[in-house]
């Protein structure tokens, strides 16, 4: 009797296993609020065992109507909205927007302003890459590397705070220049902090680049060849990792980048490991650029001296009527900066790639249309292609190497 039941149970379990284990595909949600989905994004995957057979990305959780909001504010106050695009490297966004409006106005920024813009853009690019590499390393298990990068990022944010008055929402650039001259102790602070950041980059290289756990997780994962990368619209470190040497700073040099000496690192296979290596090398190059900027920076004004564009000096505002009048004229509604009607497209090399601003002006004091080309958007649309036929665990390094920034993706 007993033996019979045992046999029966055994066969039943075996039947169940045979019937149920080669199951139909399982649907799994990664996100929207998952620790490895930095920002808020939802990745839906359909799994056969642990293999991904289908996937899709849902974006838009951080949509703030950037483009519509900008149409409702004046040319200068729109800079505040650009801070919130890529909130890890906001200065590049400020500079990109202001360059677009300056092209519309047909003005050139004084040398010192350009150099200060370039130096601070590169500092925030290092902060962006440090975040990307550190977070990607943390997600595959290297928590120490993450802490070291955050330490270095904090030092860079201190530099940004000294120059702009805020760590993240910098509001640094103005149309025609920058908001204020660099503080007098900025060079000393840079001389103190940038070598330490370089040490952190070297340590990061030592900790990760030849570590077998890291290589096993990153190499051969999520690779995109050059043709597909171009077809998807990749730019920035991901495109360069795929082998296309496209860098806006070199291909169409803007600001003072044509006077800088730096190299464009290019990968071969375009997998996560190449992206990591490209970012690591770019941090070194950015440190070199900051060094050159601070050595070459000339004395002089930082903003154009045009009463129709930049606010007058406080000295004039307090003492004479012309200054006071210009101050009111620039701030009052329907009286501020009024570029001629036209359209421009200006792109800068952001932390994740080509950040473009397409601006249409109808001659009034606020933009008729401001379209932002976010570098993240083409990267995120390629996630299903990158993680096809990979394991579930590979989603995390692929997504980490994209460095998706929600504010920029959803705008």
């Amino acid at each position: 009797m007993n033996t019979n039941t045992e046999e029966k149970t055994f066969t039943r379990v075996a039947e169940v296993i045979e019937e149920d284990v080669p199951v139909e595909e399982m649907f799994l949600n990664l996100g929207p609020s998952h620790p490895s989905m930095h920002g808020i994004v939802r990745i839906m995957v359909r799994l056969s065992g642990e293999r991904i057979v289908w996937s899709d990305v849902e974006i838009g959780y951080l949509h703030r109507a950037f483009e519509k909001s900008v149409e409702n504010c004046t040319w200068n106050t729109a800079i505040v909205y650009t801070d919130r695009l890529n909130y890890v490297s906001p200065i590049i966004n400020n500079v990109g927007y202001c360059m677009a409006v300056e092209k519309l106005l047909g003005i050139t920024v004084p040398e010192r302003g350009e150099y200060a813009r370039t130096a601070l853009s590169e500092i925030s690019r290092i902060a962006d890459h440090l975040t990307a590499v550190g977070a990607a390393a943390m997600e595959v298990g290297a928590f120490t590397a993450f802490l070291y990068t955050m330490k270095a990022r904090e030092w860079l944010y201190e530099l940004i705070e000294a120059a702009c008055g805020a760590r993240v929402t910098t509001n640094f650039a103005r149309i025609g220049g920058i908001c204020a001259d660099l503080p007098y102790d900025f060079m000393d602070m840079c001389a103190l902090r940038l070598p330490e950041v370089e040490k952190v980059v070297v340590e990061l290289d030592k900790l990760l680049t030849r570590n077998r756990i890291f290589i096993d997780r990153m190499q051969g994962v999520g690779s995109v060849d050059a043709e597909h990368a171009v077809a998807f619209g990749f730019t920035g470190p991901l495109l360069r990792a795929s082998g296309v040497p496209y860098d806006v700073r070199r291909v169409t040099p803007y600001s003072v980048y044509d006077r800088m000496e730096f190299t464009v690192p290019v990968g071969t296979t375009g997998d996560c490991f190449d992206r990591y290596l490209v970012r690591l090398e770019e941090m070194r190059q950015s440190l070199l650029i900051v060094d050159q900027c601070l050595k070459q920076i000339p004395a002089g004004p930082v903003c154009v001296d045009d009463p129709r564009i930049s606010l007058p000096k406080k000295q004039d505002v307090y003492t004479n009527i012309e200054g006071l009048m210009n101050q009111f004229k620039l701030v009052m509604h329907n009286h501020g900066i009024q570029p001629p009607p036209g359209e421009v497209y200006v792109s800068v090399e952001g932390g994740n790639g080509e950040l473009g601003f397409y601006i249409v002006s109808d001659g009034k004091d606020r933009p008729y249309k401001c379209r932002c080309r976010p570098p993240c958007f083409p990267l995120v649309q390629a996630i299903p292609y990158m993680i096809q036929d990979h394991m579930v665990a590979d989603v995390v390094p692929v997504f980490g190497s994209l460095n998706m920034i929600g504010g920029e993706l959803d705008r």
């Binding site: 120490t144 509001n171 070199r250 101050q327 701030v331």
Partner: protein, 213 residues
Amino acid sequence: MVSACPFFENQYSIKMPTIDYKKLSVPYQTSVQKVEMGLWEKLYYPEVTRGLLITSGHFVRNMMIHAAHMFGLAKNQRGAVTYQYPEERRPIHRRLRGRHRLTKKPDGSERCTACLLCETVCPTHCIYIVPEEHPDPTVEKHPRQYEIDILRCCFCGYCVEACPCDAIRMDTQVQELSNWDRTRMVYNKEYLMRDVAGPGAPPKDDPPIWWLK
């Protein structure tokens, strides 16, 4: 072709550069050093030991500095980069935009003339001013009510830049803006004119560094 922008003539005036990606090469191009998995990496332990040496080097160095602090030595070196926040504060750069304050005239009344420039320029519309005729006939206007809704403020500093009479500054360096009640986060004129005490208090009569162009 349907015109998207009816107010200017030369449609599609932007010439985008055509780039052939297959032939693209830029000066100073380098390729990253690809790491092949050799015997050294496959052995796994040497690299782990090297990583451990780095991390333990940090650990020992920081521990020695902390130990030296206990004996009153090496006070100028920091053992850890973290700050023990409520007791120990991060040194803040003087340019940091903190909570606003309204500056005062020597007689203690507000310097603001209620010109409404800060209210106009504010991107978040968080400033609300009710102007009023000043009782003193030599002064034209002054604000009867001056409110800043600090919950809406984005700390861009445009109000400080726009002010034509140095009436509002953001140099208090106060960052701890919290309250149990939302209605108390709307700061009125009296609160904004109060002298700031505590660790973030600015020195009296300091020059407005932020505005120096």
